[in-house]
Symmetry: C2
């Protein structure tokens, strides 16, 4: 029987060229985050379907790859709906599994706990160019740290990593969900309409101030509120002074401490930064997930239109899951997007570029072959990438191909010259 | 809603302590195999259900985690059997996906192609101690190399890796499926009964020669054949001389070339070996999968009862899948078993053990905090694992806990002493 040759819809095979970059990134991420005291952890790719369907995953819950029950548990004839057939699903993010992991192991883990997770997640999204149904996520989270030390450490670790990957001139946009809410409250929007307002506000960078205005109006919001709201955005500057402006303007709607904290985060990160990036206060930054409770942040790169990572504080989520209140803050980088950007740039992984091919004439007798293999051993022991290959008829073509693969040196061995 | 705290049945959460070993192993494996010229590749964890059910996977095909169709494709009311409901499954090994990958990308890959795959596979096995339903596999394969250079390189690469992981005194047991068959044919067994004979032979190390004898007899095989067969095993020595004995004894049943090749493999690997291990010819070695066509090998360690890895030549499998004949040979190490052995040994990952904790008094003002963060930055820039933590009330307890986590140095910062 012939095999289906293509991968399943929306997922991809990874070729050696891309793997070199991925492997390098994984190593650099693990090394860099380790210096910040993050510990690697891992959860199974399969998660209880109940945990995946607990409403914390938002839209992602519609995109679950579900796993059929097995053996006697699968009662096909009696099944009335999908839920009767499945008991698991592939995780769609690393946050839900982290919550479960922490609930299961809190006693064995330090407090606060600094976790690094790198792993695949799956979403049955409509396939589109550059977006895959299986992709790597890379999250750092600090659980149990209530102070802004968590935010400062997360942003510093992430920007240090990006700097090591040779990214410059990117921007960390930063906001606070409580400032976001205070601006809406100050303008006269009712709390129950905040989500609608924020979904529209989130489009600011695409449709501009006037676009947001007309969408809010057509949504039926009072013109007075809309005007008051948009005037705020026109006045706020994208820096710590913008935060100070909000602190003053939103008095009565915003606890001044939140603004002060945000200014300290921005100021601290800026003073100790080791990479070349900008920090910007962006009061239009919403971040999709409603579980965020405090500061939120996102990485913007000019090279890439959208966001290449983001995160924020989510103090209530783990408690909702586990019954035990645990403050938490996380930062996720868009691993696949960064791989893509590095590939597009023609990024070369640093390190030794010496690669040796030992080409052996066909039917080399065993005793002479030992000489070649010993030479390969000596090179490999020094860490040099070495391959032993049987010489082909068209040796020039063979060497050209191997050169394209990255081989830099060739040695040839002939039966009668050994 | 409270979350289910335990992982799904048969799968496990990995704690930081184990992850340190896993991450180290992954790095060492990638580095070591790279020096042998193997290229990393990756396939999706989800595979077409047709590919997984193509009869190449043997018993593993009964253990597939199947994935429900999604959206309009799922016709629950019309479904008559399981197959109507699923379109994918989690891969149960890395060999079937490798065949698909090679069929899909042969034109983009060098010939021969040396592939390294590390990735999770899933099998819905009965849960038992130390065996999990999600586990990491680590395979190297050489596709398109017909000569025994493939076997020599695979065994040398694998044993070099094990040596770097500080394993000694392990044994590589080696045989050839064609010697296995020739011994059975020589003894008078009919080809169609070979599989039955081999399943019994495979138990030799558990039930001994007499156990094998009585099982073969009770299976109804002629006593003459059984006696002739077992006499062979009693005569063969576990070394190259044993192969030479087979070469002579099995004349007419075995192409002498196969025996010569096996002797050259054994001799070459032995002469260039960089680790401390034994090579043994083991004519009772069967290897479960029927797709093997030539030399087969397995790693035995006294520390661990069973096999910790194995492989062999499977020249016909890829062709069956792809329609294009491609010779292939692979070696897989039991990643999880090796992790387990290292954990049991109390293995410590080599490298810098300096870990610094900067403990900061509560409510440290922002300007003084910068001093601490800058110090953390300087240490991290040097590659030192550094964490900044808020001082707890019970500072002694906090430091004891961090010491247990591996922190070796503490610095304390007080508001009024800065």
């Amino acid at each position: 029987m012939a095999l289906k040759k293509k991968p399943v819809t929306g997922m991809k095979d990874i070729l050696p060229e891309e793997m070199v970059i991925r492997d390098y990134m994984i190593r650099l991420i693990k090394e860099t985050y380790a210096t910040f005291g993050f510990s690697s952890i891992e959860t199974p790719c399969v998660e209880h379907i109940e945990n995946l369907s607990s409403k914390q995953g938002g839209e992602n819950e519609k995109l679950i790859f579900k796993i059929l029950k097995r053996g006697e548990k699968l009662k096909l004839a009696e099944a009335k709906e999908e839920a009767d057939l499945v008991d698991g699903g592939l995780r769609y993010d690393l946050t839900v599994p982290l919550s479960r992991y922490y609930a299961n192991h809190a006693n064995e883990l330090p407090a606060p706990f600094k976790a690094l997770q790198m792993g695949n997640v799956w979403r049955a999204d409509r396939p589109q160019r550059g977006r895959y149904r299986q992709f790597m996520q890379c999250d750092i989270d600090i659980l149990g740290e209530p102070t802004i030390l968590a935010e400062i450490e997360l942003i510093t670790a992430t920007t240090t990593l990006l700097g090591k990957l040779d990214f410059h001139n990117f921007t960390i946009r930063i906001n606070d969900r409580r400032i976001l809410k205070a601006m809406a409250a100050y303008s006269g929007f009712a709390p129950e309409s905040f989500d609608t307002v924020f979904i529209i506000l989130d489009k600011m960078d695409k449709i501009g101030l006037e676009g947001v205005r007309s969408e809010l109006i057509s949504e039926g919001f009072a013109e007075e509120s809309v005007n008051k709201y948009l005037e705020l955005f026109a006045q706020v500057t994208p820096d710590a002074q913008g935060v100070a402006f909000c602190r003053e303007k939103l008095e009565g709607f915003l606890d001044a401490q939140y603004a002060d904290d945000l200014m300290i985060i921005m100021n601290s990160v800026d003073q100790i930064k080791g990479a070349d990036f900008k920090l910007a206060f962006d009061p239009t930054l919403v971040r999709g997930m409603s579980y965020y409770t405090g500061p939120i942040f996102e990485i913007s790169m000019d090279e890439y239109g959208g966001s290449v990572g983001g995160g924020g504080r989510y103090d209530e989520m783990i408690g909702k899951f586990t019954g035990q209140s645990t403050c938490a803050c996380g930062f996720s980088i868009g691993f696949e997007r960064i791989v893509m950007l590095l590939m597009e740039r023609g990024f070369k992984v640093p390190g030794s570029s010496r690669k040796v091919a030992l080409l052996v004439e066909k039917n080399m007798p065993a005793d002479k072959m030992i000489t070649v293999l010993s030479e390969a051993k000596a090179l490999r022991d020094e860490g040099v990438q070495t391959t032993v290959a049987v010489m082909k008829k068209n040796k020039k073509f063979q060497k050209d191909q191997m050169t394209a693969e990255g081989y830099t040196e060739f040695k040839e061995y002939y039966v009668d010259r050994m």
